[in-house]
């Protein structure tokens, strides 16, 4: 179930389109049918199902504003390196680390997304969990969780919430936070935002 939840989370941060929405609707439906009782995810999944609309032109513009090209700024940069490295650029050491983790399994990022893009990392985590029989995937899971996702996702979701996003992204942020806390076995540690992109300007004050 955790694998599919990560896969769902990844899909929620993808560029919205009808095909994606149909896929996510099916994923949510599958997750809601999981028989574990109590299923602690069910209320959130129900809310998500209510917000997955096939035609939502505003959502695409909101996705752009929040993650791609926003005014006055991208609300929540979706790249790990932007949160974990002092220069807050893309293609940093973070990117290479995730890329190397992926490459160990013959995998890489595609579709115009960098390896440490939120979608790439979440899909990779979903794949790692789904393939636990493959050697070392458990260790890689822990590395990806502790060295990457758990270190920057809380800041990312906080920035996302602060940008007053549509409900779908508010729910996506909640799903992501809970997912990581659950995976860690405890709430994500209270981590300061290491290098919030908004503070960049202060370097030059």
């Amino acid at each position: 179930m955790r694998s599919l939840l990560y896969f769902l989370a990844a899909g929620l941060f993808e560029q919205p389109n009808a095909e994606r929405t149909r896929r996510l609707q099916r994923v949510v439906a599958m997750l809601r049918q999981v028989r574990a009782e109590p299923n602690p995810w069910r209320p959130l999944l129900t809310q998500l199902a209510d917000h997955l609309f096939l035609h939502d032109d505003d959502l695409t513009a909101e996705h752009t504003r929040l993650f791609v090209l926003g005014i006055p700024r991208v609300a929540a940069q979706p790249f790990g390196s932007c949160w974990l490295e002092p220069e807050r650029q893309v293609m940093g050491r973070t990117t290479v680390e995730v890329r190397e983790m992926m490459a160990a399994y013959g995998l890489g990022a595609s579709g115009g997304l960098l390896p440490d893009h939120i979608v790439s990392e979440l899909e990779f985590m979903a794949w790692l969990i789904a393939n636990e029989e493959i050697e070392s995937t458990a260790q890689t899971q822990q590395r990806l969780l502790h060295d990457h996702l758990a270190r920057w996702v809380p800041a990312f979701t906080a920035a996302l919430r602060a940008a007053e996003p549509p409900n779908l992204y508010r729910l996506a942020a909640e799903l992501l936070d809970r997912l990581i806390a659950d995976h860690l076995g405890e709430p994500a540690p209270e981590m300061p935002i290491l290098f919030p992109p908004e503070s960049l300007k202060e370097r030059f004050e």
């Binding site: 990844a10 700024r73 990117t95 890489g108 370097r203």
Partner: protein, 751 residues
Amino acid sequence: MTRGFDPRRRAFLSGVAGTAVSVAGFPTSALARIDAPHRAEAVKPSDEVFGFCDMCYWRCGLKIRVRDGRAVKIDGNPEHPNNYGVVCAKGNAGLMVAYDPDRLKYPMLRVGERGEGKWQRIGWDEALDRVAEGLNNIKAKYGAHALAMIGHGSWEKPYHRLAHAFGTPNTTSPVFGLCCGPRGVANMMVVGKNLTGNETLDLENCRYFLMLGRNVTESLHNGETRAWVEGVSRGAKVVYVDPRYTITASKAEEWLPIRPLTDHALLLALIHVVVAEELYDREFVAEYTTGLAELKQRVARYTPEWAAQETEIPADTIRRIAREMAAAAPAVLVYSPRRLTRTTNDLGTGMAVAILNSLFGVWDRTGGVFTPQGFPLPEVDLPPFEHPHADLPPELLGEHGQALRADGAGIPGRWPIANADLGLTNQMWKAMATQEPYPIKALLTAGGNGFMNSTDWQTVRQAIDQLEFFVAADVSPNEMNMYADILLPEATYLERYDDLQTGGARQGYVAIRMPAMEPLHDTRDAWTICKGLSERMGLGDYFPHSSIAELIDDRLRKAGLSRNELEQKGIIKLKADPAKNFPREHGGRSVFPTPSGKVELVPSQLHALGMEDALDYEPQVRPDAGEFHLTFGRVGVHTHARTQNNIWLADLMAENALWIHPEAAVERGISDGTTVRVTDRQGRTGELKAKVTPRIRKDTVFMAHGFGHFDPRMRTTNGRGAADSNLASSDVDRRIGSAAMGRSLVRVEAV
């Protein structure tokens, strides 16, 4: 050896061709198998690739170090004559252009109001389809000439080709009308050579530099600065003429704080002395020039005493400089301003520079101006452009019924001596804003920023308001492309092949730009974008190659070379031959491709055009009491208005300041660091901090160019400093039509 970008691992970053994997039966979007074939050209798996820089317009040769599929360090290519291995701060900081998380990543469709910044990501096919349809609609409705194309960068070439194939004459680049144009026109008239771009000056061996605001240590080009420093270290005298004491001035023996906009007066007086005292190179003048007698007559009234009144440089100093230069000739250079768009008679100033250099016989002599060797590299074979018959009044049509340029460049009765290939960007913005002489309804931009590199935000806004369709191709967001209807994200110069760089230096050369890594996100190179558009508009014959790499191969093949050969060192140079650079030092003759075949001290083209009065002095504006001349210029760590948001360069200089003399500051209650408001006669304003310094004249203020960005997306630089572009004058050179930006007069007050 570390491994660079290996095409076999291409998919690990964007890997568009990567095979999707699945989770619970669902295909992944981002995660893919990486053993998939890749889409673009193979790049040699090496730890370094070669290129040429795009951070300024000198185009230094680069050697880019690559690790783990990332460009990690930019060095200079030691073989490249533009820089011989040196890279400046700007060149180093190119990495931060590529890795800027705010850069344009995907094709975007505007979904809100124009300029609102509301976008929707679309795929490349949809983007190109929409652009092709939009442009074709404009053509059907208004004619092909209703499209303007403005490009600014080393990769603008395919866009010019696309626009001409489309059928519009209205392509332009700011390099002419807003920068070097008048200098090129003046040189062409006097000596038949352009002498802009990478100037062919024998700086190392020059013995006497008269530098007219040519701030080579801050308006920095590596090869030029290095050679000039070498010349100075060998004992060359430097007389530096500028209202401001720049770093270059600090290396000079003399600083002459000339009154702004009066360089032409100084030059005319120098010519007067050289002619009157017969200090010129008699042999050269006799053999290679025409017009001395007429020149003598024309400059008779421009005595040093007259010039002293205009320039505030003492007459004795002017006489002494003329004599000192004559004694050092021909190893002397009157070093022109690089940007010569300052007054209503930049043509006259530019010609006076060329004339004075000619009187000193500097052409093809050691320490003077050398003749470059070009590199014989044919362009690709293309069908001729067919500009269609336009439905316009006859006075706006050429001989084949095609529309004449809207900016008037090269057109009799308008701006006949302006370069019709590069156009007058300042006039194009006006034409778009006024819809005169005919409507321009679509704009395609390739880089650039009309707000920050032109002279009037209001004009640019009005121009954009008139557009029915605006497509911007660029790497980073900025004030101008914020208004686009469709954004096409360009790959950076570190991620792409581009057309070859050929240059005329001491040795002719051809250099290559290789991708150091694959394009990040979903960006593409200009050629690939234009090829896609051309095919959708039925213009595919103008882009016959399958890729930019194949185009490079085609050009090199014609010259008997190969890409593999060129990629070994990034550059191939012709054998050095000093006899070709300095023929008159080796028993040869100079060549001057003017109408007479000689240096024309009074250009025949001026007579033909009735523009002889350009040789005469035109007084410029003077400040009223309480006003200042506004000057602006470059600094060593930024280029134009394009680098202020680069975090490495902002770390070195994050905002500009207003240089103001201590006495003028005290009168206004301004201290160092005080925020001041600068207001021009039109009421336009800018606010920035004051730098109180005796290094500037009391009647002049200065600010570094390119700051004062107002696009909030430019997080590092937004709101920092003031924009000279919205304070500079929109006057024009009366004969060329180029901008006369120096004519702005401003008031300054503490805020």
